[in-house]
Amino acid sequence: MDAPEIYLSADEIASRIPDGALIGVPKEDGGAAMEVTRALIRRKAKGLRLFTVPVSSIQADMLIGAGCVDEIETSGVSMGEFGFACRFRAAVQEGTIKIKDATCPALYAELQASEKGVPFMPLRGILGSDIHANRDDWMTIDNPLADSGDPIVLLPAVKPDVALFHARYGDRYGNVWVGARRECVLLAHASASTLVTVEEIWDGNLMDDDRMLAGTIPPIYVDTVAHAPQGAWPLSLNGAYERDGVHLREYAGAAKTDDGFAAYLDQHVFGKQAAA
């Protein structure tokens, strides 16, 4: 099925993400909008602030390596079995980006506070860690419902300017279907705007089918959709394709050096518009 007329292209989506925006992105198997990521690098985006839900891999590493990122809040950036995320690593070691280290459930909690429209969310754990010691925006109070003591950490609501992800289906009504990827639902609920690329066009209304309904994000949360087949490549899209391990290994190797990374961008980002 052809993309509905209301749909944009991945490059048009990238052009709607302003420099300096706070962008929330899912983890690598959660539907990473890699085609838009390449488009952001092509348009030479600057000063982006990444908020990973709760971790990232090649997506954050490429954006950082390309100089698009000023700041990242994350629980981890790694290429997993392919090794370290070398552009992330170099940027943090050299201090060219600001890092806000977190732990996974804290990032969810910060979005949950935004989703509920409350100023903060309490979370157990974290106390006595250097994660906490280095976060001026996190504070500790004594549980006001306890008789005494019982310290607990409060995390401020985080409202990304943009939620950005790649989903399996979109329909002509502006619905997108993410299935079990609840972190994308949370991200859409918590963010000021949501920009989505979709793998396939769903013929019909996703909200009319009870089997699809629970995994659907309706257009009250979705601002713009683009049709981007293979839009998560080289990462996986649940139910559609596995990650491209050969390519990820090639990237992890290339990203070890400035020259290798630049050559990778020339070939895979600037050299051609489409992914695969």
């Binding site: 959660g30 839900v53 709760p54 971790v55 994350t74 629980s75 981890g76 950036v77 790694s78 997993g80 079995e81 370290f84 995320a85 992330f88 690593r89 943090v92 070691q93 050299e94 201090g95 600001k98 890092i99 280290d101 977190a102 732990t103 996974c104 459930p105 804290a106 969810y108 909690a109 949950q112 979370l123 157990r124 754990g125 974290i126 106390l127 006595g128 860690s129 250097d130 994660i131 906490h132 280095n134 003591g149 019982d150 310290p151 607990i152 079990a180 990827r181 609840r182 972190e183 949370l186």
Partner: protein, 243 residues
């Protein structure tokens, strides 16, 4: 009976999981994953393994906060963590060496450790590289502390530390590791030479027990096939899986 190092470690981990109902396993953890599946098989599913990355052995359908929420409720009994650095009080560092934030060597990040180390009663530290680079006197950055003051709500914490040389048990009263057994071929001197922190050592320390014959058989048959779904290379190369 002949057995491999991996088979020995799977059995060593499995003994630590005795009595656990919900066993969660994170990324890059084929040996803990095999041990969790072994306990699931031995208990006819009374113990439930959740293997991150598995489409079959994963009771979650949320892909987000669910694991952490369940851990917060006390419904995850065992979990596994590693560490770029681990010190004698059980503090773990997944962030980097040297100063912060501009580390000398930056690691990926703390992942769920800053939460799960507090909420999961049996956190088993698994770090194969046994060196003074890893096992330091004091970590450079605390991703998660090994212990907390008494007023901090903390049902969880370190339970044991497994390395390529030995097994330590964590003493929660004294915030120290106690050597529990050696892997075949390792010596106490070797452990001391390669450990940067002070630890307790009972007299007459010996090798950890060899795999139980029935468990070894189960690992080579059913468990090899089950873990292959998530870790095919590990199953093929280390457990002789022929699939």
């Amino acid at each position: 009976m002949e057995f491999s190092r991996e088979e020995l470690l799977i059995c060593a981990v499995a003994r630590m999981l005795d009595g656990c109902r919900n066993i969660a396993v994170g990324t890059a953890s084929p040996i803990p994953g095999s041990a969790a599946l072994l306990m699931q098989a031995l208990t006819n599913g009374h113990a439930r393994a959740s293997i991150l990355g598995s489409n079959v052995h994963n009771p979650f359908n949320d892909a987000g906060p669910e694991l952490f929420d369940r851990a917060g409720q006390g419904r995850v009994d065992a979990f596994f963590l590693g560490g770029g650095q681990i010190d004698g009080e059980g503090n773990i560092n997944l962030v980097g060496t040297g100063p912060y934030p501009n580390s000398d060597t930056r690691f990926p990040g703390s992942f769920g450790s800053g939460y799960l180390y507090f909420s999961v009663p049996r956190v088993i530290l698994f770090r194969e590289e046994h060196s003074r680079r890893v096992f330091v006197d004091k970590v450079d950055f605390i991703s998660a502390p090994g212990w907390s003051p008494p007023d901090v709500h903390r049902p969880g914490g370190p339970y044991a530390l497994i390395t390529s040389l030995c097994v330590f048990i964590y003493d929660r009263d004294n915030h120290r590791f106690r050597l529990s057994g050696l892997l075949p071929g390792a010596t106490l001197e070797e452990v001391r030479d390669n450990t940067g922190f002070d630890f307790d050592c009972p007299d007459g320390i010996g090798d950890i027990p060899p795999p139980e014959a029935d468990r070894l058989e189960l690992i080579r048959t059913r468990i090899a096939g089950e873990i292959a779904e998530t870790y095919p290379e590990f199953a093929r190369d280390r457990l002789g899986w022929q699939g």
